[in-house]
């Protein structure tokens, strides 16, 4: 187990112990919530993890380097940002997904664009957002988030 996983287990272990001591009832209720969340998302998570295996087998690294590599970062980032805006997958399976592509030689820039729009820009949830906050708010927030996703990705490319 790597240091991040171990760290997370230790912190959670301490939190859980303190929680049990302070309020048993509340702790059990929150564990029920954890179970519910996990049940809801597990199918999707496992599906995507197996999909990674297929991608690694079928898409040769040369192709990934060609399309997601360093050469045409801007266009591949915009495309990745568009894909991120319309996809609905749990954010945290996106990390291994992007990680596997980076290992194959993809640039991190489109990966970051995808990760950011995946959660911040919601094409599917736009009608809901419009209903709650009005068209102006929803349109401006989503388009600004899209632009910033590209900016963040580009700056990341310089730093890492």
């Amino acid at each position: 187990m790597d240091i991040f996983t171990r760290g997370l287990w230790i912190i959670t272990g301490i939190g859980f112990t303190v929680s049990i001591i302070k309020d048993k009832e509340k702790t059990f209720r929150s564990m029920k919530m954890a179970k519910g969340m996990m049940k809801n998302m597990m199918g999707q998570i496992i599906g995507i993890l197996f999909l990674i295996g297929l991608i690694l087998t079928f898409i040769p690294p040369e192709i990934i380097k060609q399309y997601l590599g360093g050469a045409n970062v801007l266009s591949s980032s915009i495309l990745s940002a568009v894909i991120g805006s319309i996809t609905l997958i749990p954010a945290f399976v996106a990390f291994p997904l992007v990680g596997s592509l980076v290992d194959l030689g993809a640039s991190i820039v489109p990966g970051v664009a995808f990760l950011t729009t995946l959660t911040m820009v919601g094409f599917v949830t736009f009608p809901l957002e419009k209903q709650e906050f009005g068209f102006k708010f929803a349109a401006i927030r989503n388009s600004l988030s899209f632009v910033f996703a590209i900016v963040i990705a580009m700056v990341m490319g310089v730093f890492i």
Binding site: F4, T5, T12, F16, S30, L51, I89, T116, K136, I152
Partner: protein, 240 residues
């Protein structure tokens, strides 16, 4: 549940399983290779998934969100964006789960800028998720992305607050106002049943989610309903 329903509910998994099945028939070697390629990620994720969910739930249970929210009024000043960033970061669930809560905060006097910070932080920054990001993409990647995202969120909040005014949002809300005094937005309801437990006269569970049984008859009943409205964890209940 019929096979089709199970398939539809687990679209992603079902499609992948079918792909694997076909592959096993035609190219067994490639199917085995794919499984091997996946196995690293599956083992790694199985180690971290339970802990992410447990930590998320513990944070949800113990962080006193009510206290935080009460500090988000118009006079919150410079502290406002920081509190908003924290509130968004410790909350569980996808961005749309934040819509009704932000709506309620707006009603209570939170500024547009702070609402944008909450929504964005809610979407991108999750404390248990940061560990997962560091694990698969490296701690430097995670830290730089966190800093850049936080800065972007504050800039976005400022820009949006200069363009969108509170009237714009209130006008939009007026357009889809319900006639009824009490209503439930079923898309946000998680079926926790608190409202049904507290006010079985007015609320009932229907297909695992709350529904309005009947409207409050007098102002006294409306006052009680208001208490329930405050208690609803996802703010799925709306009151006019």
């Amino acid at each position: 549940m019929s096979v089709l329903k199970v398939f539809k509910k687990n679209m992603m998994l079902s499609v992948v399983v079918l792909l694997y099945a076909a592959l096993f028939v035609f190219r067994t070697d490639m199917a085995i290779l794919s499984l091997k390629n996946s196995s690293y990620y599956i083992i790694e994720m199985l180690q971290i998934i339970p802990v992410v969910f447990i930590l998320t739930s513990l944070i949800e249970a113990w962080v006193p969100k009510k206290v935080i929210m009460n500090n988000l009024g118009e006079k919150s000043g410079i502290k406002g964006p920081i509190i908003s960033l924290f509130l968004g970061s410790v909350s569980a669930g996808p961005i749309y789960a934040a819509f009704p809560i932000c709506k309620m905060l707006l009603k209570k006097g939170a500024s547009i800028a702070n609402i944008v910070v909450i929504l964005s932080a809610w979407a991108v920054i999750k404390i248990p998720m940061l560990a997962n990001e560091a694990k698969f993409l490296g701690p430097k990647f995670m830290a730089v992305r966190w800093i850049l995202t936080t800065v972007s969120i504050f800039i976005m909040a400022y820009v949006i607050s200069t363009i969108v005014k509170k009237e714009d949002i209130q006008d939009a809300a007026a357009n889809n106002k319900d006639e009824d005094a009490v209503s439930i937005k079923r898309q946000y309801c998680t079926g926790c049943g608190i409202c049904v437990k507290l006010l079985p006269n007015l609320f009932q569970l229907k297909d695992g989610r709350a529904a309005v049984k009947r409207q409050p008859l007098d102002s006294k009943e409306a006052d009680v309903a208001k208490v329930v409205w405050e208690k609803c964890p996802t703010k799925a209940i709306t009151m006019n």
